[in-house]
Symmetry: C2
Subunit: 360 residues, 2 copies
């Protein structure tokens, strides 16, 4: 049996997926949530168009060290120039009633400072992953948001992405039988000069940046927390890129049920974001699993074959996660991927580095 | 650029592949090497048709506890009934001049005994993998063959298989640039009652049986020996199958160059034999990688796309390895996969089990 597109869509509307699904109903009777975008780099370039496609969110302020760039984007998104902030005068945002929340899209090590300053300014915080450059920073961020009574969500876009949700749903429904083992990878061959190669800014190497997708995927695919972790890391290319962060990490995890997982990440080679889950009744994979678009789910179990490219185009994942966070703010709900979810990954990352003999 | 079939064939004839390639030239001037097949189970059912397709090998004796089955097969392969042995009278094979070598296709724990008895009978030994049920047994097998001045080869059929050899060749030629990371898996959902589930007969679980393919592949793909190994094992299904051996193993390895590898094996789920190699210039995978046929090589590097199903049909791998061993015997050469190769895997398997907390 092969699932039709309609069956697939139907599955998507059921069960566990619904738990994560973005709220797609227009909230016409509610004021849109206004976001200040902190950091106008690459990922903000996905988030801002993403927010434009929501029913409940809008960009209402920009925070940048580049006034020219900020003014250009402000004009594009209908943001008054009076709502452009520099990093120095950022705290004045407290007085801006058009800003309900901030989106933190800065280098990792700056997440904590701007999350905490935003919380003190009374703004909810949607922070990119990895949550921070250290466990201590992540804990401080949670504490600050709690003290200020603002919501904190980590931008784990895959938790709001239908291909990933479908994989989770099939597993929870028992389509694969008892899950035994998972493989996941994500990496790329990094260009010299990236801030990601600066330990102080990035916190770590590919594990922080892209390996976190595999780590997090193993957790949402199993619905369990890893009980044991073992890892190796290496630098092979002594070409100046890896003076501060690792080039490769390979790690294995064992979950409480006995499910095992093996993962790789790299900054030294193309490595498509990928996961494959082996259950007693069959196999399921997403390839690619973590890209901004072009995702594809392949599954074979009990006579069923699924090969389903996801036609949704970037920035659909950014739309879904902004929609979700705004919905939580509007309705006083807890986000699906709160600070605590980010903190858990930070702790597992620390365990992986520790096992690999890397001090962080 | 896409490699044509002809380019692909041409590549296969070059460089490193040639080093491993089976000797396909008829050795018309040499007597065919006569094999006694020890154990007439599943794998012998591949080996015997395989040997029939060689130019330099033939089945000349059978060793079995089932006289009826042996007589049927003897008639099929032109083996005189006087060359059928039981396990009790096996040592009489020393007097059989039509037998140059034995093929040991018994449960793992019996490999040592029959390899050593064959060596004492003056016969060369081609032994299935895993080489033995323990490191000590493997060492004893090597010593016995050395003492008897007979050759010992472990039946690592992938070392003689063109899709695997092509992968090795592309890597050695630098097509992928600097290799950074490898993933490999192999497993299946085992039926109850198999001898493979009996620790005394099998030595261990899926790691011994099929995980060894991934372990060995990581070694021939890198051309290196693992310097560090970490592993977890588990039993999830308490349904009587896994009272003696593990159900799942996940392990990670670090090689001296810094290449990392992550592997899974299972007896609890379908898990296609697979490897994927990530280099600075591209990616290469074989899927399936370890089956008896239907292998497929996919590679993308520097503008080249390869997607090459291997049309060869089982028992082509058994033909190639028998051809190779017979050629070595005829010409006084060392086989490409001697006992020492098997012993290395036995030692790494012991390390994996040790890391996973399993006593063997």
């Amino acid at each position: 049996m092969t699932l039709t597109r309609r069956d697939f869509a139907k599955l998507g509307a059921l069960g566990l997926a619904a738990q994560f699904a973005p709220q797609l109903h227009a909230q016409a009777n509610k004021k849109k949530i206004g976001y200040a975008i902190i950091g106008l780099g690459r990922i903000a370039g996905h988030f801002m168009p993403g927010i434009r496609n929501t029913t409940n969110s809008q960009v209402t302020a920009l925070v940048s060290g580049h006034r020219d760039k900020a003014e250009r984007l402000a004009d594009q998104y209908g943001v008054p120039h009076s709502s452009i902030y520099s990093y120095d005068d950022f705290d004045r945002i407290a007085e801006n009633k058009a800003v309900d929340a901030v989106y933190v899209a800065l280098p990792n090590s700056m997440h904590a400072e701007y999350t905490i300053r935003a919380a003190k300014a009374g703004k909810h915080v949607l922070c990119e992953k990895p949550m921070a450059a250290s466990v201590a920073d992540a804990e401080a961020m949670i504490a600050a948001c709690k003290a200020a009574n603002v919501k904190l969500m980590i931008a784990y876009r895959c938790h709001y992405e239908p291909t990933n949700l479908k994989a989770v749903q099939l597993i929870r429904q028992g389509a694969l039988g008892q899950v035994q083992a998972i493989e996941s990878q994500f990496g790329f061959n990094i260009a010299p000069g990236e801030w990601r190669l600066n330990r102080k800014l990035a916190g770590g190497g590919p594990l922080y940046d892209v390996g976190i997708y595999s780590l997090n995927a193993c957790r949402y695919l199993t619905g369990e927390e890893p009980a044991h972790i073992a890892a190796f890391a290496s630098v092979i290319d002594h070409d100046g890129r890896f003076n501060e962060v690792e080039e490769n990490v390979s790690w294995t995890m064992k979950f409480p049920s006995g499910i095992v997982a093996s993962c790789n990440t790299t900054y030294g080679a193309p490595m498509e974001g990928f996961f494959r889950v082996h259950g007693s009744k069959g196999t399921l994979e997403a390839a690619p699993a973590f890209n901004y678009d072009g995702l594809r789910l392949i599954a074979d179990f009990a006579g069923t074959h699924i090969d389903k490219p996801n036609p949704a185009k970037d920035p659909y994942q950014f739309t879904a996660q902004a929609e979700h966070f705004s919905h939580c703010i509007q309705n006083g709900l807890a986000p699906k991927t709160p600070g605590e979810e980010g903190l858990r990954d930070m702790r597992y990352i620390a365990q992986i580095y520790h096992s690999a003999g890397i001090d962080i």
